[in-house]
């Protein structure tokens, strides 16, 4: 393993009711790397992401976080998860808590911070996503884009070593997608290590250090975004990109 490696998945398998969703995934991610996982629906991208922190338990395989396996029964998985937090497609903000309290809860419960310290940290995280004015708003009073930005603030307030995004903009209207991607870009440029399962090809192209294309439970192809998007080596990658890039707003036809 390289000195820079933060997480490594080895031969991850997962089946649901006899249907094999992941057929042996290997992936290593370095510190400060931004990896985008793309692929058609049902390719296993999200399941793979969820196996990384064992929110979904893999049937077979191993995940190493900072060189140590996180699979055994004597691993404190809660502690591990607090360093590799997740941002969900459906935001999953705690519905009964204000934006600020959403962020404070894990700081107090998991990090053991006092209320004052947690509150200062929460407000700081909210300002990073441009929502300090919404500190006392409940999730139901926020737009989808704002909720997702609070969810990102909740994640980064933990000062995690890795943030996993599970289709963070798929539930959003196009005009709200932009504000979330903007926050994510800033995060990436700030040196955050990120794994992003996404359908936003523009984001992958601009921000990713590496793009991973998954289909039918395997990694078909991975590499530099320029290479993947302009010169994909595999036929399935080509087909997929042709299909999705058709819908992307490109330059106007001459």
């Amino acid at each position: 393993m390289s000195q820079d490696e933060i997480i490594r998945a080895v031969n991850i398998h997962k089946s649901f009711k006899g249907h094999e969703v992941l057929k042996g995934i290997d992936l290593s991610i370095s510190r400060q790397e931004v990896v985008c996982i793309i692929g058609p629906s049902g390719s296993g991208k999200s399941t793979f992401l969820r196996c990384l922190n064992r929110i979904t338990e893999p049937d077979k395989g191993e995940v190493l976080f900072e060189g140590k396996s996180i699979m055994g029964p004597d691993v404190d998985i809660d502690e591990v998860r607090s360093h590799m937090v997740m941002v969900f497609q459906s935001y999953n903000l705690f519905l009964h808590l204000t934006a600020k309290k959403n962020i404070m809860l894990a700081l107090e419960q998991v990090r053991g911070m006092g209320q004052e310290e947690a509150e200062a940290r929460a407000l700081d995280a909210l300002s990073k996503v441009g929502l300090e004015a919404k500190a006392d708003a409940y999730p139901g009073q926020l737009s989808g884009g704002q909720q997702q930005r609070v969810a990102i603030a909740r994640a980064i307030a933990m000062e995690p070593k890795l943030v996993m995004f599970d289709e963070p903009t798929s539930a959003l209207d196009p005009e709200l997608t932009y504000e979330v991607l903007d926050v994510m870009k800033k995060l990436a440029y700030g040196g955050m290590t990120m794994v992003v399962v996404t359908h936003e090809m523009g984001f992958a192209k601009d921000v990713a250090d590496r793009v991973v294309f998954m289909d039918h439970g395997v990694i078909v192809e991975e590499g530099d975004p320029d290479k993947i998007f302009t010169d994909p080596q595999n036929e399935r990658t080509r087909q997929f990109l042709k299909r999705v890039l058709k819908d992307e707003p490109g330059p106007p036809p001459a």
């Binding site: 922190n53 929110i55 809660d78 502690e79 591990v80 998860r81 607090s82 360093h83 937090v85 997740m86 969900f88 459906s90 999953n92 903000l93 705690f94 519905l95 009964h96 809860l105 894990a106 419960q109 998991v110 708003a137 409940y138 999730p139 139901g140 009073q141 926020l142 969810a151 909740r154 994640a155 933990m158």
Partner: protein, 227 residues
């Protein structure tokens, strides 16, 4: 004149009525509290991934809900003493115990329903930021589910308040017991039982209003039916 007589009887026995109402309140409050504690335990047991625990809770709930409360009251008052002298309760204790153990089964189902109606993503979000299952339950799931279970809980509370009248059969001197006693003394069923019914109604009405207030107070802004 019967009306005047009726009113006179109530006035003459007001202290007895109020004392009896106090006992009814005592039985109801302790019964509900016991039922709540038991209900939380049963609900968490039913939802537990440890199967034997879940089965025991399910069997308990099914037996309680499938048999008459009156039989349960008799069983605890007359039957438990026969099993062990340690379980020889006085009437009031037996009554509270029976109502509490009965209500626990119903409250367990309400609590389970409340917990299960909290979106699944809430638990996932809590767990994936490093909270333990217990922390997630305590700080994320239960606070939301209690809010969701208020309407069903109100129903259960009102039912239990009315069911306290059944403990009159094991000689607990509560409202119904005193009502029956005074009726056989004065042979004036209408005013006496009417007054007894009125007191029950005041209790149940106050309870449902108080619960509605709680529901409003603890509503989650932007979530559910408000604004």
């Amino acid at each position: 004149m019967a009306m005047a007589d009726g009113w006179q009887i109530i006035q003459d026995n007001l202290d007895a009525f109020l004392a009896a109402a106090g006992v009814t309140v005592e039985v109801a409050v302790f019964g509900l509290a016991l039922g709540f504690a038991g209900g939380v335990l049963l609900a968490l047991s039913r939802l537990s991934s440890f199967k034997p625990l879940s089965w025991i809770a399910t069997i308990y709930i099914e037996i309680i809900r499938g048999t008459p409360l009156l039989i349960q009251i008799f069983f605890i008052y007359f039957g438990f003493g026969a099993i062990s002298p340690l379980l020889n309760f006085d009437a009031l204790t037996a009554g509270i115990l029976a109502l509490g153990l009965n209500s626990a089964a119903y409250q367990a189902e309400i609590i389970r329903g409340g917990i299960e109606s909290v979106p699944k993503g809430q638990m996932e979000a809590a767990r994936s930021i490093g909270m333990t299952r217990m922390q997630a339950m305590r700080h994320v799931i239960l606070p939301q589910s209690f809010r969701l279970m208020i309407p069903a809980m109100t129903n259960e509370m009102v039912t239990l308040i009315k069911d306290t009248s059944l403990v009159s059969t094991i000689t607990v001197v509560e409202l119904t017991f005193v009502g029956k006693q005074l009726t056989s003394r004065y042979l004036e069923a209408v005013p006496i039982l009417g007054f007894v019914a009125l007191i029950y109604f005041v209790m149940t009405f106050a309870t449902s209003r108080a619960m509605r207030y709680l529901e409003h107070k603890y509503r989650i802004p932007g979530y559910g039916e408000d604004e």
